[in-house]
Point group: C2
Amino acid sequence: MARHLSGKEVNASLHAEITEKVLSLKSKGVFPQLRLIRVGENPGDLSYERGTARRCEELGVVMTKTILPENVSQEELLLAIQEANQDKNVHGILLFRPLPPHLDAALIENAVLPEKDVDGMTDASLGGVFTGKRIGFPPCTPQACMAILDHYGIEVQGKRAVVIGRSLVAGKPAAMMLLKKNATVTICHTRTKDMSAIAREADILLVAAGKAGVAKEGFFREGQTVIDVGININAEGKLCGDIDSASAEICEAYTPVPGGVGAVTTTILLSHVVEAAENALAWQEA
Amino acid sequence: MARHLSGKEVNASLHAEITEKVLSLKSKGVFPQLRLIRVGENPGDLSYERGTARRCEELGVVMTKTILPENVSQEELLLAIQEANQDKNVHGILLFRPLPPHLDAALIENAVLPEKDVDGMTDASLGGVFTGKRIGFPPCTPQACMAILDHYGIEVQGKRAVVIGRSLVAGKPAAMMLLKKNATVTICHTRTKDMSAIAREADILLVAAGKAGVAKEGFFREGQTVIDVGININAEGKLCGDIDSASAEICEAYTPVPGGVGAVTTTILLSHVVEAAENALAWQEA
C-alpha cells in the first residue's frame, strides 16, 4: 500500500506560517485583502468561492468580491480590474476563468497588475516561471505540488521527474519548477508515444492531463512518488483525479483526490495574497 | 558515417525567402534596419559584428551601429536604447552581451521594446516562448536549431527529444520549441544522473551545455539526429562544439561546428529584423 500524501497535513503546516505573517502585518496596520472578480454564476466558481471564503476567514485574510453579470461588457470588466489594481487595500486579485466567449480573455487576464496577480495568470507571471525571475506570482496549482513534495521531504534534485500534460496552469509551470529544483524533467502529452514506459522511468510522476484514468496500470512502479493534479467527476458522479489510484498502490506514495493537490491550492493562493501585502508594505517603507 | 547537417545549405534556402521579403518591403519604401549597440571592444563582439555586417549586405538589410565606451554609464546606454526604440527607421535592436559588470543587465535588456527585440532578450519575448504566444521574438540560437530540423525534414512530432543544458539563450527555449512541435522532451543539466543513458533515449539530441566534449562516447546511438549548439575553442585553438564528433559518427546525422547551428543564427536574426519591419508596416497600414 502506498502512502497517501495528505493535502490537509501540508495545509496545517502552511497555515501556521501564514497565520503568523498575517498577525505581523495586522500589527503594522496592513490587512491582507483578496479581491475576487466573478463573471456570471458558474456552479464551479461558486463552490470555489465558498471554499476560498472559509479559508480566508480561518487565516484572517479579507475577501472582497466584484460580481458581474454573464453578459458584462469588456469595458466594465476591465474597469473592475482597474479599480482593484488601483485600490491600495487590495493585495491580490483572483479572476475566475474561463470567461464567457464574448470577452477577450488574453487582454483581460493581462490587465491585472503582476504584483497583484496571485494566481499566475498574466504573461509576466508565467514568463517569470520560465526565466526563473520572480515576476508576479507562479500559478497556484503547480506550486501546491511543490509544497507537497517539500512538506514530505521528497528529494527532487538529481531525480527523474515526468510531467504528463503541458497546460499553462499546471503541466508546463510544474516542469519548470521541478527543473529549478534540479530534477531531470520529461514532459509528456497527447502526442507522446509509449507513455507508460516513460512514466515508469520517473522517480516523481506528476499527472496533469485533465482526464480521469490517464495514468493507469503500467505507468507505475515501486519507489515512485505520484502527484495527481486532476480533478474530474467519474461515471458514479464522484470526484477523482487523473490516475487510477488502485494501480498506484504499488508506488511509494501518491496524492489522493480529493484531499491532495486541490486541497493545497487555495492555501497557496492565500499565501500569495499575504506575500503581496508584505511586498506592498516593503515598497511603502522603502 | 553520419550525415552532416550543413548550416550553409539551410542558409541558402532561408536567404532566398528573406531576399524576396526585403525586395517587397523596399518596393513599399521600407528599408529594414538593424541597430547594433555595442559596449566596449570585445574581440568576440567585433568578429560577430563583421559577420553580421557581411550578412546584412548580402540580404539588403541596413545595419547601423551605436558604439559606447566600456565605462559607459547606465543612463547613456539606456538613452541609446531609447533612441533606437523611438527611431521608426530602426526595426530590430541587437545589444551585445554580456555587458560590463557595472551595468544592471536585467534592467537594460528589458529596456528594448519587445517588437524590436530581435534576439529574444527581454522577459516579454522569453515569456512568449514559454506561453506559446508570439510576444517579441524568440532567441535566435534555438530557432536556428528548429530551422535546421525543418530544412532537412526531420520529423519531431511524437519523437523523444533530449536537451542538454537549460540556459535562457539556448536549452530552455529549445525545449519549449521542441515541445510545441509535439516532441516528448527531456531536459538534462549538470545535476542529471546517468546522462549518457538518457541521451541514448533521444531520437533528437540537442546539446547546449556550453562546454566541449559534454556529449561523448556512450551518448549516441544509430538513428539519432544530433544538434550541437556549442561554440568552444579546443586545446589546439580550433573551434569545436559540445559534442565529440568522432563518437557522433554512429548517428544518423549531426550539425558540424563550425558550419552548423552558429552559421544559421545570424540568418535567423536578420529574418527577425525583416519580420519586425513587416509588422511595423502592417501596423502603419492598419
